[in-house]
């Protein structure tokens, strides 16, 4: 089996270009790769589109930030596609001020759009959002008497993912609720960068328990961050 290249977080950040569509795994930062985000923040890459479940935490009173919040704060994204920004006051401010374009997508729709993007589908039909503001500008199809929205598939340039254990072939096992969008985003992006707690030899993972097959993964990064 071919071994994946193990690179530093800084090298990983160097693979993300200005203007890239970046898919970031994580739910309130649980499942986001901390070292890659730090390096990408440090590097100051601009004009990116972020696709992520949420924009993590920014509390203006305590100034506490988690996950992707420092990159949002420094306006590294021109567009943010997300289901929830309720705990990041800065994303809300930038959206209301027209400084950053924010597209709000129901969480299940976002997951399925990404899955479709990685699975070669043009889109999905979902009942979620029918009769709401989400329906605006979208095609509504009636199938066996029930209404569905046509939601187009999404693909990205780079996926930034956190996993628990990888073998050197890039096979991944996640860690509890940090799995969330990782397995989906790994299938939907040109370049897939995975920060992991632990890297083991090929053959050490039970093939029956692998969640993301290594064929989807391009580079591994050994995390320095506290788990």
């Amino acid at each position: 089996m071919i071994e994946k290249k193990i690179i530093s977080a800084e090298e990983a950040a160097g693979l993300v270009k200005d203007g890239d569509i970046v898919m970031l795994s994580g739910f309130m930062a649980c499942g986001s790769p901390p070292d890659i985000l730090d390096a990408l923040h440090e590097k100051g890459t601009k004009g990116m589109t972020l696709v992520c479940n949420d924009t993590a935490l920014y509390n203006p009173k305590t100034e506490v930030m988690t996950g992707v919040a420092p990159l949002v704060f420094d306006k590294q994204f021109k567009t943010i596609v997300t289901s929830h920004i309720g705990l990041n006051a800065e994303t809300q401010r930038q959206m209301n001020a027209g400084e950053t374009e924010v597209e709000l997508v129901p969480q299940g729709t976002l997951a399925e759009q990404i899955r479709a993007g990685g699975a070669g589908l043009g889109g999905i039909l979902t009942p979620t959002g029918v009769g709401t503001e989400v329906e605006e500008g979208k095609q509504v199809l009636e199938i066996d008497g029930k209404k569905f929205l046509l939601e187009k598939a999404r693909k990205g340039d780079v996926a930034l993912i956190k996993a628990g254990t990888a073998d050197k072939a890039g096979n991944l096992i996640y860690d509890k609720s940090s799995r969330n969008f990782g397995p989906l985003m790994a299938t939907a992006c040109e370049t897939v960068l995975v920060e992991v707690d632990k890297i083991v030899e090929i053959g050490e993972l039970d093939p029956e328990c692998v969640v993301t097959p290594g064929i989807f993964v391009d580079y591994l990064i050994q995390t320095k961050g506290v788990k």
């Binding site: 309130m28 976002l110 009769g131 989400v134």
Partner: protein, 220 residues
């Protein structure tokens, strides 16, 4: 009679809905507290839409695992027999009709079962998260809310004026005044909670409320 908000009564009543083996998703905030009042002889399975079933109680202090949080980003535990999955599986469970009940918060709910609970234009725009999927997907939608807004008007409406989370999906509304079923374009008052009376509810709620003969007073 003076109204005093009482959130405990709401979650206590909702906790009595469930039967053994029901798969339940509790929304963020007040609905989460329902989990603390499940009767001892009933075992339900809780789903956390960020990716698992078998949601357990908060861990002991010092035993928090940053990789195990609920949808409200609080540290939780997994019960034996629980399972993790990705977000597509999680929302497949939700949209696919595998969740028996979801319990959701309310900004407005109307007599046609329309729910508005995710934004107030120009004021709060947090994003819908999983609320739209849960409202359309769960077999039964229970909404949990104090009966009145801060300005004194009932959150139960003839028609929602805020942007909808989903249309015609709400089955039950439980407030601190009573338990309503939503059916045929009306609220049906099934129970009213002491010390409030049917008259108090009717005269303080601008909506079509049917009071059937078997409507009963419940002390919680």
């Amino acid at each position: 009679m003076e109204y005093k908000p009482n959130k405990e009564i709401i979650v206590k009543r909702i906790a009595r809905f469930f039967e053994n083996g029901d798969l339940v998703n509790l929304g963020i905030g007040l609905p989460t507290q329902v989990g603390n009042y499940i009767p001892e002889d009933v075992t339900i399975i809780l789903q956390s839409e960020n990716g698992f079933v078998g949601l357990g109680p908060a861990p002991e202090a010092g035993k928090e695992d940053p990789m195990l949080i609920n949808a409200g980003a609080q540290h939780v535990t997994l019960l034996p027999g629980g399972a993790y999955f990705d977000s597509a599986v999680s929302f497949g469970i939700i949209r696919g009709g595998h969740v028996d009940y979801t319990v959701l918060g309310v900004l407005q709910v109307d007599q046609n079962g329309n729910l508005a609970n995710y934004m107030i234009p120009g004021k709060i725009v947090p994003g819908m998260g999983g609320a739209m999927d849960l409202t359309i997907g769960a077999k039964k939608v229970i909404t949990a809310t104090t009966h009145f807004e801060k300005n004194g008007s009932a959150k139960l409406k003839r028609a929602c004026t805020l942007p909808l989370t989903a249309g015609n999906e709400v089955d039950y509304v439980v407030t601190d005044l009573g338990f309503f079923e939503v059916k045929d374009g009306k609220f049906i008052l099934r129970e009213y909670f002491a010390p409030y009376t049917v008259d108090y509810i009717l005269s303080n709620t601008d909506a079509d409320i049917l009071v059937p003969e078997d409507c009963k007073e419940v002390i919680l």
